[in-house]
């Protein structure tokens, strides 16, 4: 599958962005356009997931997958925190902030995985979109708890941004479109399908072009990255992704969905969690968590991770 991945336009556009940025080209995607594309992509996968669930309605399986996702998002930061403290030599605050990123998920990694997996005939179940939404924010809470454990908190820092966590933009949009898809069903979706289905892959290309630009820029502008952190930014997705794939297989998900759960576990947030961390842990250094998640883990997952966890799920399944 790696070979297919590397000749897919979706991945090639990511590479193009990465190269352009590394060459310090002045190629940039207007931010408003990038944000528009990410809104489009989230609405589209939300809708598609909802429509599929409205067709199948396998509720027990959905509940199990949802519980597994929630548990992973809550617990993966604990392992990450330990590794970041010991191997990464990070301060408690920085380790907690980074750990939260790795417990949470990257929507674009998931979307790219769906595209690549589907291209290989491995379509994850529609409800995985709901699992994605559920995994976005619990990690924020555990990351903060890890930082505060045994600490006598005072002043500004003691507040958990509950409101931000619960009404987070991507959660709202994913859950909202999922529900709309479920209500509208196939017939209702048919009317908007031309945009949300036809345009999907092309938009993903242009979005990954931008992600390539941003990832390479992050990597070059970061002054805080040590070799230890770079290694962890590859090790953590490998470990988390393996855990996720195994859990998915154990709880009885089909191969494609188990792979998708693995990829969710392997992916690291770069939207919801950074904003929450900036607010709740302003002392944590954004240079560290953004460089690790955007600069190293995201490219690693896009180019290698997806294929690795797909192979693992197939081997286990």
């Amino acid at each position: 599958m790696i070979a297919d991945t590397l000749t897919s336009p979706v991945i090639l556009f990511f590479v193009l962005g990465f190269v352009a940025s590394a060459l310090k080209s002045d190629l940039t995607i207007p931010e408003a356009f990038a944000k528009a594309m990410s809104i489009f992509l989230m609405a589209a996968i939300g809708l598609k997931g909802g429509v599929e669930v409205s067709k199948s309605g396998n509720t027990a399986e959905v509940m199990v997958a949802a519980a597994a996702g929630l548990a992973l998002s809550f617990l993966l930061p604990v392992l990450a925190f330990a590794l970041l403290r010991s191997v990464g030599k990070l301060s408690k605050v920085d380790a907690g902030a980074v750990a939260a990123h790795y417990g949470s998920v990257s929507v674009v990694t998931f979307v790219t995985a769906i595209e690549l997996l589907t291209g290989e005939g491995l379509s994850p179940a529609g409800y995985m979109v709901a699992v994605l939404a559920l995994m976005e924010t619990p990690a924020i809470i555990s990351g903060l708890m890890l930082v505060r454990k045994g600490e006598n908190m005072s002043g500004e820092r003691s507040t958990t941004p509950w409101h931000e966590v619960l009404t987070n933009a991507s959660v709202m949009l994913l859950v909202g479109s999922f529900v709309i898809g479920a209500i509208a069903g196939s017939d209702g979706f048919a009317t908007v399908k031309p945009l949300f289905d036809t345009g999907f892959r092309g938009v993903l290309c242009l979005f990954l072009l931008d992600m390539g630009l941003i990832a390479a820029r992050r990597l070059m502008q970061s002054r805080k990255m040590t070799l230890r952190l770079v290694i962890l930014a590859i090790l953590l997705p490998l470990v988390n992704g393996t855990i996720g794939t195994v859990v998915g297989t154990v709880i009885g998900l089909d191969i494609a969905s188990a792979a998708a759960l693995g990829i969710l576990a392997a992916s690291a947030s770069y939207i919801a969690v950074p904003s929450a961390m900036r607010l709740a842990l302003p002392e944590a250094d954004p240079g560290i968590y953004l460089s690790m998640s955007l600069g190293v883990t995201f490219p690693f997952n896009i180019i290698f991770g997806i294929s690795i966890f797909a192979a693992l799920a197939q081997a286990l399944g």
Binding site: R217, I271, S275, P286, L290
Partner: protein, 103 residues
């Protein structure tokens, strides 16, 4: 001659996700209004950055407020403890405000 009053022009450069916090502080010392301007890019000790909406977390913003000397002093007292951890830049200049009794 139109009447002008001397006031302080407070400029706070801060990470965009923290703007609500700053606005909270402004309200706490009863400053009547503020305006938010987006910063496009910049550089400092922590390196250079560009605004990108994908990860809004690294975007920066200027919060601009016109206020009396007293309220400005109160605001500085309230914000100063956060300056380091938030990585803010806080400057205060003198301006004349036309018909600005209310500020």
């Amino acid at each position: 001659m139109i009447q002008t009053v001397p006031r302080k022009r407070i400029e706070i450069l801060v990470d965009t996700p923290l703007v609500p916090r700053i606005v909270g502080k402004l309200k706490a010392v009863d400053i009547s209004g503020w305006s938010v301007i987006q910063v496009d890019s910049g550089g400092g000790r922590a390196g250079e950055w560009q605004h990108d909406d994908v990860t809004g977390a690294s975007a920066k913003t200027i919060v601009l407020a016109i206020a009396s000397d007293t309220k400005t002093a109160q605001l500085i007292d309230a914000i100063a403890p956060l300056l380091d951890s938030y990585g803010m830049l806080l400057t205060v200049g003198d301006v004349q405000v036309v018909r600005g009794e209310r500020f």
